[in-house]
């Protein structure tokens, strides 16, 4: 298990999936995944495409992995959408904005 920082944001695939409708499989496939650095994948003993379990104090999700050379070893990126939001807490620190980026997340092999 590794403790990392979780960030989320738009991807081209997520936007494309959205145009097809959020009830469609294309959208679900686009948002139900996580990007990790190849080094983090290696540390976890995983290959790209295998599943991981991500856990924060607010929830847990099981998603497929994708390798991203541009990510630091301790950062996990997920496309914005209902899946990553299961991990996001409601606190807004008096601004209205939840922490969609910068959450501590436990990353483990899905068993």
């Amino acid at each position: 298990m590794q403790v990392c920082t979780l960030i989320s944001g738009r991807t081209l695939e997520q936007a494309k999936g959205m145009h097809g409708g959020k009830n469609n499989d294309g959208y679900k496939k686009a948002v139900e995944k996580a990007f990790l650095s190849p080094l983090l994948l290696e540390k976890l003993g995983l290959s790209e495409g295998e599943e991981i379990l991500l856990t924060t104090p607010y929830g847990s999700v099981r998603v497929k992995t994708c390798a991203d050379m541009g990510l630091p070893e301790d950062v996990v990126f997920m496309p914005m959408g209902p899946m990553v939001n299961l991990l996001v807490g409601p606190e807004t620190e008096g601004t209205g904005m939840p922490s969609f980026k910068g959450l501590k997340v436990e990353v483990d092999k899905a068993r």
């Binding site: 960030i7 936007a15 409601p90």
Partner: protein, 423 residues
């Protein structure tokens, strides 16, 4: 068949107004000049008539209006939310409705650039238009944003690529710097990429401001960035002719939020002692800038407004949608052209499922799917005219290239407005 030129695309805050559509039998059969996101918006839209629904059952329009009006007028603490993908005209009547029923009203700004609004109110903003940037800017800094994915034609139309009046060689005459946590698609096309440690934007911005003022830093690195590289970046900013910092949710959604943006604005203010510099938020939805504008004209505040005392009160963190829903305060929800079920934290979404909700949206979103009352409406800029504000606060008039077969957002809101007065 007809060809409609110079159509405005409302997918994102760029509002590209040069799109060409080919229309056959009131369907869009070809989209030219748009990016993949814009093409998706036009090609994915089905303009055919669809009846409103109450509890999943199709009903006549007056019946749906009656049900929606009853929900809102019997609520003790209603919330109106969304507004960023509809016209200024619909936004205006939404505020009028909020005032009438004593509701809270909040736009998607609160989960986008709401913290930018707070920073603007704190230190002010050095503004400019995208036209000025195209014609004059020789330094473009993209901080915590990824326009090649989220605003795909921004580079081509407004910032990095175009030739301008004082930028005769286009991309060759401009320097592009990207500051981000990850090497994004945009970072890969930059002249300089500064990779910072996640959550350290505030520290890096403070260090840059110190270096700009000639201070010597004892630290060899700040937020994972070597001090030497920051010094080089400061020199680049001071020596440009016209610089702009575009910034995104890499600053507003992370630790520090409005404080990060405040440092961007105050850095830009300092830079104007040396050269011309501006800052601009990369606004996401097509008319989210309009939502801020309309609420500011009418209420004095851009988002997070409450009318329960009969006059507008401002309360980010109190009257913002995520707080009102996750705190289980709102007892009815009216959503206009937005999808909180897809984009809010799970706790807020679970609560939405337990209160009566009304959704007005051209597209059946995840929120529409669970709504008590759903109005499928016409889409602004496709089969409904209106006004929208570009990310630089320039208003553009939207045409309606398709013949309209559904009610507009504005018409539905007007009918609800009349309906609640009769309840």
């Amino acid at each position: 068949m007809k060809i409609e030129k110079n159509v405005v695309c409302t997918f994102c805050g760029c509002l590209c107004d040069d799109i060409t559509l080919t229309i056959e039998n009131n369907n869009i059969t070809k989209v030219e000049k748009a990016c993949a996101n814009g093409r998706g918006l036009f090609e994915g839209y089905d303009p055919h008539f669809r009846a409103p629904r109450v509890n999943g059952k199709e009903v006549a329009f007056p019946e749906a209006i009656k049900e929606a009006s009853n929900i809102l007028s019997s609520a003790r603490y209603p919330l109106i939310y969304g507004l960023s993908s509809t016209s200024v005209e619909a936004q205006r009547i939404s505020v009028q409705l909020a005032e009438t029923i004593g509701a809270s009203i909040d736009s998607t700004s609160s989960v986008c650039h709401g913290p930018t609004g707070l920073a603007m109110q704190s230190v002010g903003e050095s503004t400019c238009t995208l036209g000025e940037i195209k014609n004059r800017a020789d330094l473009l800094v993209f901080w915590g944003c990824n326009p090649l994915v989220s605003h795909s034609r921004h580079f081509a139309r407004y910032s990095a690529m175009p030739k301008g009046r004082f930028i005769s060689e286009g991309r060759k005459d401009r320097k592009v710097v990207v500051v981000d946590v990850r090497r994004s698609e945009t970072a890969k096309s930059a002249d300089l990429f500064i990779q910072i440690r996640q959550g350290y934007d505030y520290e890096v911005l403070l260090a840059i401001k110190a270096l700009l003022k000639g201070k010597v830093l004892s630290a060899t690195e700040v937020g994972g960035v070597p001090t030497e590289l920051l010094q080089q970046f400061v020199h680049t900013m001071k020596s440009c002719r016209y610089g702009v910092i575009f910034f995104g949710m890499g600053l507003t959604m992370t630790k520090g939020r409005d404080l990060n943006v405040r440092e961007v604005f105050s850095l830009v203010r300092e830079l104007n002692n040396y050269t011309r510099f501006s800052a601009m938020p990369m606004r996401g939805h097509g008319n989210v800038t309009g939502a801020d504008q309309v609420m500011s004209w009418l209420c004095g505040y851009p988002f997070a407004i409450n009318f329960s005392k009969g006059y507008p009160r401002y309360g980010p963190g109190e009257f913002t949608a995520v707080d009102l829903l996750s705190g289980r305060e709102a007892d009815a929800l009216l959503v206009i052209a937005s999808d909180p079920v897809a984009h809010f934290p799970a706790e807020a979404v679970r609560y939405i499922e337990n209160i009566p909700s009304i959704v007005i949206d051209p597209v059946e979103s995840l929120t529409a799917k669970i709504a008590t009352v759903y109005f499928p409406t016409a889409m602004y800029g496709v089969d409904c005219e209106g006004t929208a504000y570009r990310m630089d606060s320039v208003p553009l008039r939207l045409k309606a290239p398709l013949e309209r077969q559904r009610k507009s957002d504005e018409e539905v809101l007007e009918a609800i407005f009349e309906g609640v007065k009769e309840c």
